[in-house]
Symmetry: C4
Subunit: 357 residues, 4 copies
């Protein structure tokens, strides 16, 4: 799948406006975290077992909902930048392959319309705490009402990470009409600068976890966790799960790769909470490693956007189905028939660097 | 020899149909395990002794048979793809240099004809557990009858590892007539899809070890072992030996290199069973390292096929003789006169990467 | 900022006489320490915290004076080589951004004139122990009189580190008139070879620390420290601070990178003295890492010279303000609001090499 | 000096017959040990001290003789291949710079003539145990009589290491007249194949150490030691010193680099015997590292041959003087005034790879 994904990336790149492409691809700072996320999974090698009956392998799991796959879609902003149907198509694609779907606060399709595509299936809603708290609260309540089974509270974005080229000739080619489609109803009609209300707030604290859970009655997963002690702090503050992420390398550049931080976080809180992960996951093997290290599910950010750009709902479904099937294929070769059999003994670190051709 | 082998590789590549070449060369997934197998032996450096009397160095060993060399031919499929005499020639070449020879279940020459070439010499037969067990059992019994001194049960292949390009325009250019030559007699004459009977079965278990040993009376070596605990499980299930292998990188891509896993396996079971190894062995030095780490014998897969393609039985004999002589030469320089003197103190890992020019 | 700095480097390179450029850029020996100083900071990755209130982040600090930024200007020689206003402009630029400024003993503007630019602000003076001690003492006393708040005693330069190309056709294109501007008044009027008096002396000892402190009444920071036991020796000899530096790779080539030595020095003396650092600091992230490891302030050498060459006082101010702002930006993303919150738990080493594009 | 040496290498390469060049440059096997010897010294970084009085630095040492430098000439064969005066010139060059000189058993100038050049100065003679022991014994006795102060018994050469290209069109362009100049007098006049008598013998043992010491009354240093336990065995068998060497990568390819093995050997026997080292030493820094790790002296093999080829006795003197001066220069920068002050605390290993430009 790695190869297929990189072809998909190429297709998307060709098809999209260069500024849109750049918005999706870029990381913060020197792009270090953005670029090393994927190779960091290669720190790990697999330790398969032989002669196990793997005539029936399944990849189903229960993580705030029941899924056929533990490889889902991470929340990413503004899908209508790359496809006219936007988040509606992405959601449909995810549903078709039984994969978890997380809708971003920055959806360009109103969340109720997205929820409709999913019918009775579970889905999650990602929350940005906005300067005007009323807006984020309203969104979270609408999501709960529309059937979201969990909230993903992004904790690594008190403000946007600095992106060197962002200040030059590379604006996101997105007009406010589209960008505000999901929140317009919560803004004063005469607002001059809506972004002063809906930008991320730096005033976020761990107390927001419980506040949000109490407000909506939904389990709250904190996204962006990269250290064991911090994971523990989140759990103690009421988190129902932690999501190991460096926001696709778009926030603190130089942050430790998730492929590396995951083990530490699982070590600290794995026995008492659900741990999720994303960042550079590009094939079934990366997912297998993450599962072995203790993640209950992993998520792809950019690949889902590439697939949406290249093939709409169908493209997303193909991507996620491909990843799920590859994971199952590899599980069998490793001697495992279900995710519950994957544990840290499946992986080891070797002092070898692997540079894909 | 490394240089000679890479020249041999070039000759074979030139001579063979590109699809055949590709079938031999390729690994699974991203080719990671296929490509890092060879450089992984370079993780180790040698610690020779000075001023030892090495006026007579021998490389003979007894491993389910007596051999003049501990560097043998790993089982590989379909030798008639590269040479008209196929496995008969390979076997003759191995015999000429006193090296262990393992015949694949996927031989394109009936096993009895191969055995004939070997006269009274020992040889081993590799077993794939097939969907129709009757066929694998029949082959194993024929091998025992034809004089095989051990069975090598390949445990890492519940099904073929996914090879990205395999699904595209790269079929193995092999007709069923040739492919089925060894098993045709065990199939119903009117069978529509013979592969549904003889493909590897995912229903394999550790219990198959003892079953096969009981059936044939031969010692059973499990091939594909990559972890210490799994080696122990095999031994407890009746294995007479374990063969550390990642199937030439053709099954679970990303599996730990054998040059790395070998030490762990020897640690776990080296005192109670025979440990063998293959994967990226390309010169006497790789063999020396493996011996030092505790392997009783090592095997070459692709190099034997290249040699067969480039020079028939003679080519195979030259390759194996060259490797054996190089091993002996290096043993003397290291201050050792027999394989039994090689122990882990001969090797050490250094934090240096070596990239051959 | 890394990118901006490397552009600045390019601009300076274009603008300057090649010999001047070479004087600034080069290191000693094989340039190893000069070249690996910057990438060595990449040994460290960041471990941010989520959901912290970072609505107000400040980078102010008190280190022998009060500053708005902990990223200052390291002492470098001969600024009039690159800009007509020389050290006066550099000092003004530093002051404008609230950053520490250290004036070199090899200033091409008399120190009193530099001090004038700084008004009531703190600044430090760098001392080279010269063959004729009277000259260094006189300079140190003049600096104290002119308002310097600390002395930086460079301890790594008993003589200049050998620079291979220095002996060939690459003299520093600097006439003695300029070079001696700050010291001429202390030399006998009829001196034949002034450098025999003002060159660094190899007769320096730890006792010079206290002697200098007693002479001037100023705190003495020792610059060039690279080992824990040596830092302790300096502190015991009366140092008020130690400055981890390898002199921009211009003295002992092959010396351990400061990004590596800093941790050891902080470990040895961090609880009882002020630790500073320089060497390859090229962006806010490098400064953040150094702060986390225990440095109270860090310094840029070459970048300040580039900025001076490219934009005079204004250029220097922009550089330092940019670095300060980037540091603050990253602190917020890491969940910290003040330098006092940065501790070693913010960083970790990962077995990944990062090669900027 | 590294740069200067590589220029010297270039000059020699240009000047010499390609076959002669190849004979000097090549290693055994894949050239791995030959090529990684030099970069392996870069595993180490230096930890200098500041503010030490280094007004007088000396590099003199006493190692089986008194020398002004601890960087000597390793024994290498056949100097008349590269210069008409051969070993006589090399010896004179070494003497001129006060450096240790070791004459090879394969000298192309009779040893007495070489000794003459050295007057009363100390020198050492390298012994190969030959198939006909009488010849090696005779040489050793002549060396003792001619004033050698120590014997260097090369223990890593029971026979020549295999050099892939050696078997092809690359004979050493040396006629027997020259090659046998030192031993002819000890051979039967009617000998058909003199090499059957004077080739290295694989029948060498540790007992040869004492035998040789008893025979000549000289201290015997064993050359080629690469492991601690083996060093101990040599010392227990009567060695007066051990010389850590991998024979310039010309014997067991893949042997651990000397820059790595040295620490282990010093650890094992450094308190009771003299430890020497060679292999890839190319500048004062490499020598400084070796001294810090516990070597009493280090030696250059190929560089001396390049210098001889490029500049005769004068060239050799310049090389050795340059190295000695560089070592002294670096010692001062590191805060040391004599070799006895160098200890392991001067070096540390860092996880950085350095690739010279
Ligand atoms: C274009 C883009 C937009 C994103 N938007 C959001 C967002 O709105 N909310 C959020 O929590 N994370 C957002 N992320 C981060 C993703 O959720 C995820 O952490 C990251 O993309 C995973 O890394 P990957 O792209 O390497 O798979 C975004 C990432 C990208 C690339
Ligand atoms: C073309 C090819 C066919 C193979 N066929 C078999 C097979 O039939 N049975 C088996 O157990 N292993 C098979 N293998 C794996 C080899 O036995 C062996 O594990 C591997 O080739 C060793 O790695 P090397 O090629 O780097 O030496 C095959 C390998 C190759 C390259
Ligand atoms: C051109 C140049 C001149 C320097 N002159 C001095 C000096 O006069 N006194 C001193 O203590 N250090 C001097 N240094 C060293 C700097 O103070 C500082 O340690 C070093 O430049 C930091 O590394 P960086 O250039 O990578 O930032 C000089 C460095 C350079 C590049
Ligand atoms: C051309 C050549 C000839 C050599 N001849 C001998 C020799 O006769 N006896 C010996 O003990 N070592 C011999 N050596 C090994 C050297 O003594 C020494 O160990 C080695 O050259 C050191 O490595 P360097 O060349 O990287 O400095 C030879 C090396 C070379 C390159």
């Amino acid at each position: 799948m790695r190869e297929t994904l990189h072809e998909l990336e190429g297709t998307a790149r060709e098809r999209l406006d260069p500024d849109v492409w750049h918005y999706i691809a870029r990381g913060a700072g020197d792009d270090q975290s953005a670029r090393e996320a994927e190779p960091a999974w290669n720190l790990w090698r697999l330790r398969p077992r032989v002669l196990r009956d793997v005539s029936s392998v399944h990849t189903s799991c229960a993580v705030f909902g029941d899924w056929e796959s533990p490889i889902g879609v991470a929340p990413t902003a503004y899908h209508r930048l790359v496809h006219p149907e936007g988040e509606a198509a992405t959601a449909r694609g995810a549903a078709a392959s039984g994969a978890p779907f997380v809708l971003s606060s920055r959806s360009t399709v109103p969340l109720e319309q997205v929820a409709e595509q999913l019918g009775a299936r579970p889905w999650w809603f990602q929350v940005y705490l906005m300067r005007e708290r009323g807006v984020s609260d309203a969104l979270a309540l609408r999501a709960a009402a529309a059937g979201a089974t969990a909230l993903v509270l992004t904790g690594d974005t008190p403000y946007l990470g600095y992106r060197p080229t962002a200040g030059r000739a590379r604006p996101v080619p997105l007009d406010d009409e589209l960008a505000l489609i999901g929140v317009r109803q919560h803004l004063p009609t005469d607002v001059q600068d809506p972004w002063s209300l809906i930008d991320q707030t730096p005033r976020q604290t761990l107390a927001d976890i419980e506040r949000l859970a109490d407000l909506t009655g939904l389990p709250v997963i904190v996204k962006g966790v990269l250290r064991g002690d911090d994971a523990l702090a989140c759990v103690q503050a009421g988190a129902a799960g932690v999501w190991v992420s460096s926001h696709g390398g778009r926030q603190l550049d130089g942050a430790v790769p998730t492929a590396y931080a995951l083990a530490e976080v699982v070590d600290a809180v794995g026995d008492r909470t659900t741990v999720l992960a994303d960042g550079g996951v590009r094939c079934g093997r990366d997912a297998l490693v993450a599962q072995a290290l203790g993640a209950s599910a992993v998520f792809v950010g950019r690949p889902a956007v590439w697939a949406l750009a290249a093939g709409g709902a169908e493209g997303v479904a193909q991507l996620l189905t491909g990843l799920r099937e590859e994971l199952g294929h590899l599980m069998g070769l490793a001697g495992a028939t279900g995710l519950e059999q994957l544990d840290p003994s499946l992986v080891t670190r070797v002092p070898l660097r692997f540079d894909p051709r």
